[in-house]
């Protein structure tokens, strides 16, 4: 493993932040009987890396913040949880996720809370909006960065490939896409449903600078961000595990849909605490 020396937080700190975020996800998933728990857990480490290591997103300099767009917006719980740990969304608002008369919906509404950059939920929209934002900042010579997280199922959308085709031509090099490749979409595995692989070659052929990494390893994530993009838009293909961090959810398709019952909440929390102690 290559060791990165320029991480803002240590790997240990990031792991601990991610555990906290995962616990928050289980907590609200349980309270709200929400689906998409597995989809949220797979991208937690990527979001923690973005918000606590890679991007510059501070309350103090909010107007000049880097932009993160959660394009696979059914994982909204993960974004809310990370924004809560970051202190951008307050805990009470977070705990009222999906509750009657609460403010946070299952899919993103940019008017609902601070830090929600775009409204999204239907797949293959956020990625393209993020490209438009990146292009807008680029031509304004505003040097902030734009990142978007897309799903593997989401990458079957034609709009993703439309955007891919234009982004490289337009030289949108202030943009990084992160593919949360948890290898389980709504009703199967991407490569069993379509000709998904070789996904890295596809992005390369579209003129992107692709990197393939383990999406749960903070050092690898950090290194991938530091890799040169050679004037192209970059994509980090992050291999992840659906349901990551909770043993009985890992790599289980049903956790795209299943809800966290009282009993499962206890089991999941024990799992996450045990993992913390193990590290």
């Amino acid at each position: 493993m290559t060791v990165s020396t320029n991480m803002r937080n240590t790997e240990k700190e990031l792991i601990s932040i991610a555990k906290e975020a995962r616990k928050l996800i289980i907590e609200v998933a349980h309270r709200s009987k929400s689906a998409h728990v597995g989809s949220s857990l797979s991208c937690v480490d990527l979001l923690v890396a973005l918000y606590f290591d890679e991007l510059t997103i501070n309350e103090k300099d909010w107007l000049n913040r880097d932009i993160f767009v959660l394009s696979k917006a059914h994982a909204a719980m993960a974004l809310y949880a990370v924004l809560t740990v970051k202190g951008i969304i307050d805990k009470e608002t977070f705990l009222n996720y999906l509750q009657n008369d609460g403010t946070l919906p299952a899919h993103l509404d940019r008017f609902s809370a601070k830090g929600i950059e775009v409204s999204a939920g239907s797949l293959g929209h956020g990625f393209n909006m993020a490209l438009g934002m990146a292009y807008g900042y680029k031509i304004k010579q505003d040097n902030r960065r734009v990142c978007a997280l897309i799903g593997d199922g989401e990458s079957e959308e034609g709009s993703i490939w439309e955007g891919a085709l234009f982004a490289s031509k337009l030289g949108i090099d202030n943009f990084t896409a992160i593919l949360d490749y948890n290898n389980l979409q709504g009703y199967g595995k991407p490569n069993e449903i379509c000709s998904y692989e070789p996904v890295i070659d596809k992005w390369k052929a579209f003129g992107w600078e692709p990197y393939r990494i383990n999406g749960h390893n903070f050092v690898e994530i950090n290194n991938a961000f530091k890799e040169p993009n050679n004037g192209k838009p970059k994509i980090i293909i992050a291999e992840t595990v659906k349901g990551k961090g909770v043993s009985f959810m890992e790599n289980e398709l049903k956790w795209h849909y299943f809800i966290v019952t009282d009993e499962l909440r206890e089991k999941a929390m024990q799992d996450l605490s045990r993992n913390i102690n193990a590290e």
Binding site: V118, S119, A120, G121, M129, A130, G136, E162
Partner: protein, 303 residues
């Protein structure tokens, strides 16, 4: 009409650096000058309509005021969900300039007609829907969009529409009385106004002619005010009969229990297989000047 709109946008773009023009591979000969004058604020996003709309929404999120030019089916139908979620739901200052209203492009085939666009646009909250009748209204619609912070859809035919307005337009958001009349009112939107203007001499002062360039929202209080003494409303549009202005007026009459009789002229809700040019289609579907004249006369004699 498209030239008056692009001219207005060009004029504003000289001072307002936030204006950005995007096309979906349309506008040959129309957008050349804009492209030459403002190369940094012009993009051809090609034949990729979904990306075109979402990308524009993204640009708007960074502070640009975006105008998108395309043929209506490839601006509103192909990418309806992008218009709905990314522009209207997010309430972004993006203006859709759609060309080829109604059966302007006949006989190109139904894929290129826009005979249900008003019906679709009406389902979109936050969206201001404009359908100018002539270049004078078109210019005002462009001005409105340039000053507006909300999403706007401007529906136009193409070019060469006759000028209907003799006087300056004070307020494009209101229904426009083109000519007075005291028994019947003809309410219309868009380039079909050209047909209506040719029947004026035949119907003398009996028919009040009202253009409704702003279809969403309609200033109903103002409309009611200019309909004093009128017993019958005839809506005329180059659009499906069900779902467009006729339906909006019909809903209004029912909602407010108004004592108007209503006749709706428009294209029958069906897929068009007939091969006819624009004029031929208007005759075929009963929205030509002859049909309009007949409808007015019938309304006068039936009372």
């Amino acid at each position: 009409m498209r030239n008056s709109i692009i001219k207005k946008i060009t004029e504003y773009s000289r001072n307002d650096k936030s204006i950005f023009l995007i096309t979906g591979d349309a506008g040959y000969g129309i957008l050349d000058e804009y492209k030459k004058n403002f190369p940094d604020r012009f993009l051809n996003l090609g034949v990729a309509e979904q990306n075109m709309i979402s990308f524009s929404a993204g640009l708007a999120l960074t502070g640009y005021k975006v105008f998108i030019y395309n043929i209506i089916p490839f601006l509103l139908y192909r990418c309806y969900e992008q218009v709905r979620n990314d522009i209207c739901y997010q309430k972004l200052p993006v203006t859709l300039i759609g060309i080829g209203s109604g059966v302007t492009y006949a006989p190109q085939g139904v894929t290129h007609y826009s005979i249900e666009d008003i019906a679709l646009a009406r389902t979109l909250p936050n969206l201001v829907v404009l359908s100018p009748a002539d270049p004078v209204e078109a210019e005002k619609c462009a001005e409105f969009a340039l000053e507006c912070e909300a999403p706007v859809y401007i529906r136009i035919a193409k070019s060469g529409e006759p000028i209907i307005h003799k006087d300056k337009i004070e307020d494009i958001s209101k229904p426009q009385v083109i000519r007075g009349g005291d028994a019947v009112a003809v309410l219309f939107h868009g380039s079909i106004g050209g047909e209506i203007m040719t029947v004026l001499d035949d119907v003398k002062n009996t028919a009040k002619i009202i253009s409704i360039p702003m279809i969403q929202p309609i200033d109903f209080d103002y409309l009611l005010g200019i309909l004093k003494g009128i017993h019958t409303l005839i809506t005329v549009e180059e659009h499906f009969i069900e779902g467009g202005l006729g339906s909006i007026i019909s809903d209004w009459i029912v909602r407010e229990c108004l004592p108007f009789e209503l006749k709706k002229l428009g294209i029958k809700n069906e897929f068009i297989h007939a091969i006819k040019d624009n004029n031929g289609m208007r005759s075929f579907y009963g929205i030509s000047s002859e049909s309009i004249k007949e409808a007015i006369k019938e309304s006068l004699t039936s009372r």
